[in-house]
Symmetry: C3
Subunit: 413 residues, 3 copies
């Protein structure tokens, strides 16, 4: 037995080897670093692929004071914005970029965003990320909803587009790196969306990747710090532009059901909702509401594939965690934002009052939590893309897609 | 006569000895200090009790850029937030803390507060202070009121909860310390709540204490910089949490009249409005409107006393300056904000339109001023608490309390 | 021919001599300088008049983080605020100041301005400039208007007073100085007023002057970065206070037509609309809408002349670029803002919905631009003022002024 015990101890020692940890921002410790660089040569010299992490502070104009963390894992570089809700500005590979050319060129500090402006569309003053979270108290279209106010009375309030989360700064940010294979690199951030007599949500997000990989994972845990249950809405607004998006690009996913969000989206053939046009001046957005099939474990994959089918980007997640997916087609002129959003969420982007009526506004119990994992990947070369599409087909199997041509706008009774 | 003159001169020389003065923030001189420490050994070495003052700048998350000044007088430490209207975050004594555990954990910079959000309740996104001022243009519940706009026309506007004052940064902050007994320490701040075609208020606040004392004084002077008279509302939101607040704690004051703010507060026996419950999940706030008796000079004392009656905190002020007191009972679960507010003010927290109808919105004449002094104290041990209660009883004397069971909601005619 | 060619080459060499250039702020290069001083002795030592440029960062209160650039050309100093839309705080000459005493004493950072407050009058919380731009999406009175939202649907929104431009920070700021006579000094700034699914305007402004001159020029180019045409409104809010403004001061311009904005402005004799009173407690603003005559090239001049007619300030611009001029008379008490605004613009300050109905909301074509040049000058001494008035009279010639006594409020059909 002693030999076995010794072996186990050895394993344990390896497994629990203290990972490297470095605090970038901390409200608790009153830390905010202007610049920082962390290199594999200092942290995990045995990593076969060198990597580095750089923390910058942006200056000038609306970028003044914005924190940026770039994780370069040797294959892709992931640019994260702690100041904007730990959103991801872009992901660069030598060959593909996840991201788009927003008309908003600056990485805008929340101090310059007024969410209420232009009828609750102020969120669009800062919108330029590859991926940002919409929520947590609410997301979707602006408009009125009823809340319970501090006095316990019902009060009509104006919700703003996509909520506050993408414009909240992280109060704790740190880098954690495993010192043993696979040398996983983690950027961990915490964001409070809290107020007295209102939502008390904490988001803990971990963006992680391994050196040399073209994939990365976002793992989010939302905690309801209140003793009372709390409604929430969470949507991952993942935005792809040229060159991956182009005339002939296609959204491919194991679709169970799809319907147009509104009359504009109902124009054209619903069966072709996944096909993209090139940049089209004057194009007004078309939005589609989808349910996806999952595999035995509930996992699904959605992808954007280019016209030649030799480049693709995918997201993989559980339909149990994110049961609804919104496809936002905005193939406008390049200067007006040529982009598509693949947006898995707990809900569709109708105003929360409508979503509640449709039964799509979940609650987190008092002191409860909600966990979501989303895997992002790049697929380069015809074979990789063929494999990706094959995997999606396998989830679909011989299950039919229910194409609904008319909007299914929820009705508040 | 010459001997007398000489003596007087000597006194005068002592009395007018130039106090120590140090500027922390100054818009006029373009000064903003990142860190600073001032010690008794350097300033008033003869002080029998050593003291120190520390100025910090907070970093990270929503605290980025917040100035904090901590006055440690040797017995209590008073944490003041120049960036948030010279509010007081907390006061610590070895034995008691004035303050509470807000669900808002960060000391939030005003750049991250949108007062208009959630139907005008955005103030609650930054609310965590022991003491903050509500006002000055208005305080109380959000809702519509009518103002005179720049064109001289009447215009309907949305007031936001508790006004702007608690989210305005001080433009001039300095420390002034007497070099002779009692070595009084003063933190002086100035805040402008001004706009063209609108209110033109300047608040000059002085937070002062003497080394070794458990008490401190807030002296505020509000000046109306306009030639025209201006309405104002001022309320001191003083908030106490555990452990001073606990099941069996009691609000004790010489109450002349009390009525519930609304139907919720009318639940239960109005005669027991001053008794507190322990943390109660799902508890909705109950608010009571009080008039207090004053002594011959108009001075009154209100206190929060713990269950065992061996710990208490008091505020003492003039009912001529602050004729109305609001008791905010919010004995919710700890994580949702277990707290009571003892809030002397010029008015109750009904929306200003209602308060005006009730005759409780005073005006400051053009170029006039309004002065308020509030003394805060701690009472430790059964004897000290007995003395405190005895003093309050003496103000009450044999005067009866008018307990009104129904809300007296003002009516706009 | 070779001699001629050589001469031309020489000229060309002189003309294209690389001017001095220094970046102050750059989002693209991630530059933000805290302090900076540029002197003629280092840059253009041959300039007969020494000049200097100073860049400061302001600290404390609502000024925290505000950038200020002062151009001292040896005769006048021009204080520009890159952080507030490249507005001009004041212009000082030994003898006159362009500017006024706003009740807002601080140069307020946009982070402390909520444009929506007080019924959309929040712009007045930061208003203290000699000159600021109102626009670009809209300017004028707050109130509702209809826009096309992200979904392509019509949506009613609340416009705020005078739009966003004056509270937007410049993202690129640089100084450019000619090394040869006339040694022109240019401060160039770029500001983005952009959002997804909304306006996509870029303003490039150049504020320039020559050493020793009492005049300066503002040249603005607004570019519509969208492929779609976009409505815009632009007004130059130029504000003059004491001592140039005084009892007996006069607004002098070649007026083609003038009418009062509203009933308040219709009080009194419309023919005397250009005469000013001294500080008058309780005075409510009076606003007049003017069309000016231009000369053969469309150039016009408007001036404020003091009572003794020995001091004046003028603005000169093209009525083709800025066809409407608003005269804002606000001769209130000094502490409430004793000021007049001479405001050439594309429109009058009625709410945009009304201005559109009146045909005064122009559009910039997709990828088009709109250029405006405004020349500011000081006139010192009776002769200079007489010359100024003579020049204005010459533009007027024998053309009559149409004095309209009643407001011409636009009507939305």
């Amino acid at each position: 037995m002693s030999g076995l015990v010794a072996t186990l101890c050895l394993c344990s020692a390896i497994i629990t080897a203290e990972p490297y940890s470095h605090v970038i921002t901390s409200v608790q410790q009153n830390i905010a670093r202007e610049e920082l660089e962390i290199k594999s040569s200092d942290v995990s010299p045995d990593s076969p692929t060198p990597w580095k992490i750089r923390k910058q502070t942006l200056h000038g104009g609306k970028q003044e004071g914005v924190d940026l963390v770039t994780i370069d894992n040797g294959a892709i570089s992931i640019v994260v914005i702690p100041t904007r809700g730990m959103g991801i500005w872009q992901v660069r590979h030598s060959d593909i970029r996840l991201g788009w050319e927003s008309p908003v060129k600056e990485i805008v500090h929340p101090q310059f965003v007024n969410l209420a402006t232009r009828g609750g569309l102020g969120w669009l003053e800062g919108f330029g990320e590859f991926m940002c979270r919409c929520g947590l108290e609410s997301n979707g279209h602006p408009g009125q909803d009823v809340i319970v106010d501090n006095t316990g009375a019902k009060s009509t309030v104006d919700l703003t587009l996509h909520g506050k989360q993408a414009n909240l700064p992280a109060q704790e940010v740190k880098v954690v790196v495993e010192k043993a294979a696979p040398y996983r690199i983690r950027l961990i951030g915490q964001i409070a969306e809290r107020m007295m007599h209102g939502p008390k949500f904490d988001l803990r997000t971990e963006i992680s990747t391994t050196p040399g990989s073209t994939s990365f994972r976002v793992t989010d845990v939302i905690t309801n710090a209140s003793v009372n249950p709390a409604e929430f809405e969470l949507l991952y607004h993942c935005n792809y532009g040229a060159p991956l998006l182009e005339e002939g690009s296609e959204f491919i996913a194991p679709v169970k059901k799809v319907f147009p969000l509104n009359a504009r989206a109902a124009e054209g053939d619903i069966k072709k909702f996944g096909k993209f046009a090139g940049p089209t001046p004057g194009y007004a957005e078309q939005v589609y509401c989808c349910e996806l099939f999952g595999d035995n474990e509930g996992k699904t994959t959605a992808a954007l594939v280019n016209a030649k089918k030799d480049r693709a980007a995918s997201i993989r997640y559980s339909v149990k965690e994110l049961p609804h997916l919104t496809l936002w087609k905005n193939t406008a002129a390049a200067d007006d934002g040529y982009v598509t959003g693949i947006e898995p969420g707990t809900n569709y982007p109708y105003n929360r009052k409508l979503e509640r009526a449709a039964g799509r506004v979940p609650k987190i119990p008092g002191h409860g939590e909600y966990q979501v994992t989303v895997d992002f990947d790049l697929h380069i070369g015809p074979e990789a893309v063929t494999n990706l599409i094959g995997g999606i087909s396998k989830i679909q199997g011989n299950q039919k897609t229910d194409f609904i041509a008319e909007p299914q706008t929820p009705v508040v009774k």
